[in-house]
């Protein structure tokens, strides 16, 4: 067997180990009795238990769908409108909008959600109290409701949609729109008949992506949905494991299987939408510059709408700054100003578990990102460059984790390491393995795209000159593909450093990561310390995001 075949075997085993056991254990746990006489034998009792009340399951599915569709639609509307304003009009403040959209990646989701709760809580939310003083309406907006959940989830996704939609708007060939104008089309008709249809595949793909992500969302359903009395599938899974006297893994797995089926079904149209994107190619060899529509006097209104993007980042952080300075929650007043101090910052960083969580997060994220990039690079190289039979199976295997929402991955990996005799449970390595599995598909795409861009001729030339395949890979492929690999590394690093739903079921005392520590502080009522810790972490992750973005710009990366 030659070197590439050994490599193929090794990478196949690594991917099988990362992907198959979690999948097996989630299905196994869903269909096998846990305790009593039925322990270890096939059963449908977990499914029977959860559909015991059909009305309850119906409400759960309905809530999950309403929340996901609503959030996806709102995020798409806000993100697309702002992207269009930034790219295709002469509205001011587009740089501010871009900077805030990039920076939003550095702010952990849980931090923003807690900030919004402090702002829009129906009884004591700062904005509601101010609005009540001004308008007499109380509360102006009740965050603890389905519309509240949808609004905040949509606000979390708007910067992402903005960045995703800005690309098609920017790369659209203006001659198509110009032709429509020449033939007498009004501005609205051109937008409706040319611009939007051209952006349709991107719109559809982003809509489905946001829908799937909202279906998988955990922070908002847990922090806002539970007080609102609105349960969705992800919170039900969490509550089965952490909400009773003993964990009900069987029921958690049964809910997980339902959620995975829903995610899988939603991903089918996503692939259909993205499969034929070449038909909508508008970037050609021709030189062009997309035309910016002149909004006339309306451009300042457009600018104000663009300022919406930084505003929704600053507002929740502002609420956290206020909370971090007070011993207990209080509305701004002269009495409150007398209580302001930095005590929460000192007490937060005196806590060794808080400092430990930062080190744990860095270790976990750096290791997970490096290992995932390494495995997916080798797998992509084998798929793209070798002629080994069945090499496509590697690509397909790496895509399987797409159907694992974070909380489901948590249950699956937990069950796996409780069952197999490897000393991983209770250490930070369980998080590394879980993150590797979860982000395999994304990293695979980065490596794959990077490799496709390098023609085989270069390696062939090296081989003709007497280099071995290993030397060709080391001296030619790796240096050329490095920017794409680095982009994948940054992506996994920035996502895992703020990830909560996977980590929440897998951490142990001593192995808490940042997001889990923030969750613990919220759960235990240490809001002041939480706010202080979150703000320091946000500063750190934002600095990292800026640093990575600078590097990415310098080397022409797409992150």
């Amino acid at each position: 067997m030659d070197g590439t075949r050994w490599l193929f075997l090794f990478v196949s085993l690594a991917l099988v180990y990362l992907v198959i056991p979690p999948l097996f254990f989630i299905v196994w746990t869903g269909f096998v009795g846990e305790r009593g006489a039925a322990a270890g034998s096939f059963t449908l009792e977990h499914f029977v238990n959860i559909v015991g009340s059909l009305a309850e399951v119906r409400a759960l599915l309905w809530n999950s769908l309403l929340f996901s569709v609503g959030s996806a639609a709102c995020a798409l509307l806000l993100g697309t409108a702002t992207a269009w304003l930034a790219e295709r009009t002469n509205a001011p403040f587009r740089t501010v909008a871009y900077v805030s959209a990039y920076l939003s990646f550095g702010i952990p989701g849980i931090v923003k959600v807690i900030g919004w709760i402090l702002l829009l809580g129906p009884k004591a939310g700062m904005l509601n109290v101010v609005a009540a003083d001004l308008t007499g309406i109380y509360p102006l907006f009740n965050l603890f409701s389905l519309p509240g959940m949808i609004l905040i989830e949509a606000l979390l996704w708007t910067p992402v949609v903005f960045l995703l939609m800005a690309t098609p708007f920017r790369s659209m060939d203006p001659s198509l729109e110009e032709s429509a104008t020449v033939f007498g089309g009004s501005g609205w008709q051109v937008l409706k008949r040319v611009t939007l249809p051209l952006a349709l595949p991107s719109l559809l793909a982003v809509l489905i992506l946001t829908f799937v992500r909202s279906l998988e969302a955990f922070e908002i359903p847990a922090l806002i949905g539970i007080p609102a009395g609105i349960d969705v599938l992800t919170t039900q899974i969490y509550l089965q494991v952490r909400g009773g006297f003993r964990p009900r893994y069987g029921e958690a797995s049964a809910y997980s299987i339902i959620l995975m089926v829903l995610v899988g079904l939603a991903l089918i149209p996503y692939y259909r939408a993205t499969r034929h994107t070449h038909k909508f190619t508008t970037v050609t060899g021709k030189g062009y510059r997309p035309r910016r529509n002149d909004l006339g006097p309306w451009r300042w209104l457009g600018g104000l709408l663009l300022l919406f993007l930084p505003l929704v980042q600053i507002l929740p952080l502002g609420a956290l700054v206020w909370a971090s300075l007070l011993p207990y929650a209080k509305q701004p007043s002269s009495e409150a100003f007398a209580l302001l101090s930095l005590n929460n910052y000192f007490s937060a960083f005196r806590d060794s578990t808080i400092v430990g969580s930062i080190l744990n997060s860095l270790t976990v994220s750096v290791t997970a990102a490096t290992a995932t990039v390494l495995v997916t690079f080798v797998a992509s190289w084998l798929v793209v460059r070798t002629k080994i039979r069945n090499r496509w199976a590697l690509d397909q295997l790496a895509m399987v984790p797409l159907v694992f929402p974070g909380i489901v991955m948590g249950v699956a990996v937990l069950k796996m390491y409780l069952a197999i005799p490897l000393p991983v449970y209770g250490t930070i390595w369980i998080l590394v393995f879980a993150f590797m599995t979860r982000y395999l598909p994304y990293c695979m795409r980065f490596s794959y795209a990077g490799l496709l861009g390098i023609h085989r001729e270069l390696e062939e030339s090296a081989e003709v000159c007497g280099a071995s395949w290993m030397q060709a890979v080391r001296n030619i492929v790796i240096p050329l593909v490095l920017p794409a690999l680095f982009a994948g590394w940054i992506y996994v690093f920035l996502i895992t450093i703020r990830e909560l739903s996977v980590a929440l079921l897998l951490y142990s005392p001593g192995s808490q990561v940042i997001s889990v520590k923030i969750w613990e502080l919220w759960e235990n009522g240490h809001v002041g310390e939480l706010a202080a810790f979150s703000l320091v972490i946000t500063c750190g992750t934002v600095v990292l995001a800026v640093l990575f973005h600078r590097l990415a710009e310098r080397y022409g990366l797409q992150v």
Binding site: D231, F245, R246, P509, N524
Partner: protein, 350 residues
Amino acid sequence: MRILSTAILIFLNALSLAWGQSGKPTSLAELATYAGAGREQLLLVGGKSEGKVVWYTSLAGTSYKEIAAAFEAKYPGIKVETYRGSTQELMPRIMAEAQARRYIVDTVESTLPLLKAMRDNKLLMPFHSPHFAKYPEQVKEKADKELFFWTVVRESYIGLGYNKKAIPAATVPKSYDDLLKPELKDKIGFSTTDTGSRVIAALLKFKGEEFVKRLKEQNIRLYAISGRAVLDLVISGEVGASPTIFRDHAAVAIDQGAPVGWVPMEIVPTNAGAVAVSGQAPHPHAALLMADFILGPDGQRILERLEYGSPSRDVGFKRWYPEQGLTTDQYEKESAKWDKLLRELGRKSS
């Protein structure tokens, strides 16, 4: 060969004799029964070489931090790694660790249902403490010989916490029936942890299921956070009143000037918190030293200052222990029922 094996046997024999003569217990089982002189010094020296103790506790607010800090100040060189969680959080964690044979916890301070489940699963080490004599027999769980599985060190009383600005004095409930007052509609919040489900247990037992269903008309809001964290929402005014607030947490907040009050209802669900030692404690010396510290005057002083109760003291209201008379399996079934009712109480139809 035979000479070599004889030499090894003689050496091992001499080693075990020397061990016996030194008389120093080293394993957890030996240490747990050790009542000889110099116990504290023995545990301290061993604990220092272990370097840390991992303590799981259900104490909330500042109490567990203060206990950890006082322990570290008294016994420098032994770091306390605290993990705070409700019974519902500690239970799956401890069971999972046992299943994975990954033993992390040394000392546990939590409610009796958790400790009973640990005992039933052989996860506790019966132990001796020089402080046991000061505790009445009924709060100690007897094991073999003169050893105990646990001893109750504090009681936490669950009553009604309310925001003085949001709830006028005349509206403040004095009994569970008062929770149905129309003025309290949209103002009541529950913690969904075991604190909330134990209040539901009390309502179910003393007021009946129909009462719990009527309570739903008040638009009860549930929060997946501890009772201490719900108190924060009461302080801010986000929640007007909550019957899932601990007396000790409210007392500390009142001392700090927070605008809250606390009243007991006609029945006060009570969490008895006890100290126990894990059967597989990875830091045995430090584990027992920590248990002794909480049971001893240092730990008790902190708990008393923070207004935790004691089973032997009259508190002026009627205490009720939901787990009393129930086996672990029965408690599990009952608590599943309470949890379900609690979830239904907060659920909105969409």
